[in-house]
């Protein structure tokens, strides 16, 4: 039992060591390490040991994205008031907390993504796991939104809402990377406005009533 936990702790430590080592390498050199061999050597671990945890740099980058998400999620859960929020506020709160997390790693993210990340689509391998986690989170929000009537149920379209929220996350990331305003105030405004817009679209609107009317007229003609 003791050895098991010790082993586990050791494994954790290696993971942490590798992640932190990777981030600091990117920070200092502005790019990824040349090879896994070189990277492992710098960290003073065996290359085989490295493969026990990650199989590629992509896997590391992905793990960092997931870590950012997990940390954001943890902080949200910690806030007493979060549970009382409406869905719109929950999503706002998520994005606000998330960009705070991003801020802590801004240099790292800038060196890796400044030029590449026109959309998340160009980075499928880096963000796949993050997207998966996020989609789970978003689906939960959407489900809750439907229950509270904040989000209107529309055939076919509703299933794509998690995808839409994901696009919004990508939009905020891109906006934030290019944001030069003090304290990233513009990003805050962009989040506030884009989320309000998105939720206004998803909520019940005149369009729904119109479609309902059109359907009615068509069927009763």
């Amino acid at each position: 039992m003791d050895t098991a936990t010790a082993k586990k702790a050791g494994k954790k430590d290696y993971q942490k060591l590798i992640l932190e080592g990777f981030v600091s390498h990117v920070l200092e050199h502005g790019k990824e390490p040349a090879s896994i061999f070189k990277f492992a050597k710098d960290l003073k671990i065996k290359e085989e040991e490295f493969y026990n945890h990650y199989t590629s740099f992509e896997a590391i980058k992905s793990a960092i994205w997931v870590a950012l998400f997990e940390e954001t999620h943890r902080q949200l859960e910690e806030q007493e008031v979060y549970k009382e929020y409406a869905v719109r506020e929950k999503f706002l709160s998520f994005l606000f907390t998330w960009v705070e997390e991003l801020k802590k790693n801004r240099s790292y993210l800038l060196s890796l993504y400044k030029d590449k990340a026109t959309t998340f689509k160009n980075l499928p391998s880096d963000t796949r796991d993050f997207k998966e986690r996020f989609t789970d989170f978003a689906s939960e929000l959407i489900l809750e939104g439907k229950e509270t009537q904040e989000i209107a149920t529309r055939p076919l379209i509703t299933e794509k809402y998690d995808e839409a929220l994901w696009l919004q996350v990508a939009f905020v990331f891109r906006y934030w990377l290019d944001d030069n305003s003090p304290r990233f105030e513009k990003t805050d405004a962009a989040i506030e406005k884009s989320v309000n817009f998105a939720f206004d679209l998803m909520g019940k609107s005149a369009l729904d009533s119109f479609l309902d009317l059109a359907k009615f007229l068509y069927q009763t003609k």
Partner: protein
């Protein structure tokens, strides 16, 4: 207090109310909503030049609920066209009033940014939704120990967008005001300066303290205390002043004595600022005054403070001397000094405008010509509006391309009309004190 927001969303009915609106809403440009609003209005397929010429007045009309004579009143109020840019800003700030309030997560985030604590951690209680919308922010109520506090939070990005928003207004203002660019810039510069100051919450706290201290001796006034430990660039925390706004207070049918007491406090407050401090709370908007149960007047929001330059002060107030209206040579000099007329004018124009301004001044200076003035006199206000209507319909006035009036006059005029209107709402009779040199 939440009534106030609604109030500002509706179209004011009577003439007096409409004028009050001009003065009340204030020269505040509504943040990013301007962009949104303008984009919605502007059809991108039109080329710019065409758009300006053909649509300027349409756009203006759709932006403006204050049509017709309200505009003209504003024109006249400023003794020239120089309040018109404010008509735009009014409009833009109204667009802002319909803006969705800051979401609570953003409020929390703003607190975390400046204090590394959530509002709940900082205060004992904190209202989840805004109690009151200010033009560039919103007010929440909080408690800490036995104190009730008002916490004002600014929308993010407003400070940055002031200049770009004004640039956006410029082309429309140019076409509509029939001014040339240089003249417009003359006023826009003034407006921009005030607006930028207004977004500086730290400056606001400093000024609030200064003016509060300097006015402490005036009876029946109350100023809130400001708390540095809970204030930052985008957050101001001050005492919550409980009481009623003028309109609500009037609905409780206070005695004439009470009305006069409040009116007098208001007059004294402005008298002291203008004539002794030479800097003035230039936002006499009903929302910035709260009447407490015992008839003391609470004054909040020192966002807009105008410092009055000495030479402008001399010229401007010399005008209200009654005998001076009779002395043409001295009057000419003052008119030149305040930019009411210039060498660019023809003789006919000069004579005309001198006549107009003299008439206005004698009317507007009326409260100063007596020792005690009854502001409840609607007939007096009616007279002002009629004169305004008459002048602004006059061809001479319409066709003049000159900007008239000193830029400093912009906010001083606004202050005085705001004050007159508040006193009118209060139906107060006050001792209209004057500095010694004017007696």
């Amino acid at each position: 207090m939440s009534d106030k927001v609604k109030e500002q969303g509706s179209i004011p009915v009577s003439k007096v109310q409409r004028a009050a609106k001009f003065i009340s809403t204030g020269a505040k440009v509504g943040g990013n909503y301007v962009k949104h609003y303008a984009k919605k209005m502007v059809n991108p397929s039109l080329n710019r030049e065409e758009l300006h010429q053909n649509n300027a007045s349409d756009i203006y009309n759709s932006l403006s609920e204050l049509k017709g004579s309200a505009l003209k009143v504003a024109q006249m109020m400023s003794m020239d066209k120089n309040l018109l840019p404010r008509a735009y800003q009014d409009k833009f700030s109204m667009a802002q009033y319909t803006a969705p309030p800051l979401s609570y997560p953003l409020v929390v985030k703003t607190f975390q940014k400046y204090f590394e604590k959530t509002p709940e951690q900082l205060f004992d209680t904190f209202s989840r939704s805004a109690i009151n919308a200010a033009s560039i922010g919103q007010v929440h109520q909080a408690t800490k120990g036995d104190k009730t506090l008002a916490v004002k939070i600014q929308y993010p990005g407003v400070a940055d967008s002031v200049s770009s928003d004004l640039r956006l207004v410029r082309p429309f203002a140019l076409r509509l005001l029939n001014m040339n660019e240089k003249e417009l810039d003359h006023y826009m510069g003034e407006v921009e300066e005030r607006l930028l100051e207004e977004t500086d919450y730290q400056l606001e706290v400093t000024r609030s303290r200064e003016i509060s201290e300097a006015c402490m001796h005036i009876p029946n006034l109350r100023f809130p205390c400001y708390y540095d430990e809970y204030s930052a660039e985008r957050i101001i925390t001050m005492d919550w002043i409980a009481g009623k706004h003028i309109k609500e207070w009037m609905a409780t049918k206070p005695s004439q004595e009470m009305k006069n007491q409040v009116g007098q406090a208001l007059w004294d407050f402005y008298h002291h600022q203008v004539h002794n401090l030479k800097q003035v709370h230039a936002d006499p908007h009903p929302g910035n005054f709260i009447i407490q149960e015992d008839g003391t007047l609470g004054i909040i929001d020192f966002g807009c403070v105008k410092v009055i330059p000495e030479d402008f002060y001399q010229g401007y107030f010399a005008l209200i001397k009654r005998e001076l209206v009779m002395n043409p040579a001295e009057l000419d000099q003052i008119f030149y000094g305040l930019d009411f007329i210039s060498d660019k004018d023809t003789e006919v124009e000069k004579t005309y405008f001198k006549g107009v301004f003299t008439e206005m001044i004698s009317l507007l200076g009326k409260p100063f010509h007596v020792d005690r003035f009854d502001f409840s006199d609607d007939a007096y206000f009616e007279q002002i509006f009629l004169l305004g209507d008459r002048i602004s319909n006059d061809k001479m006035f319409k066709s003049s391309r000159q900007a008239r009036g000193s830029r400093h006059g912009l906010y001083i005029n606004r202050t005085y009309f705001g004050l007159y209107n508040l006193l009118n709402q209060l139906e107060a009779t006050v001792d209209t004190t004057k500095p010694d040199w004017l007696n």
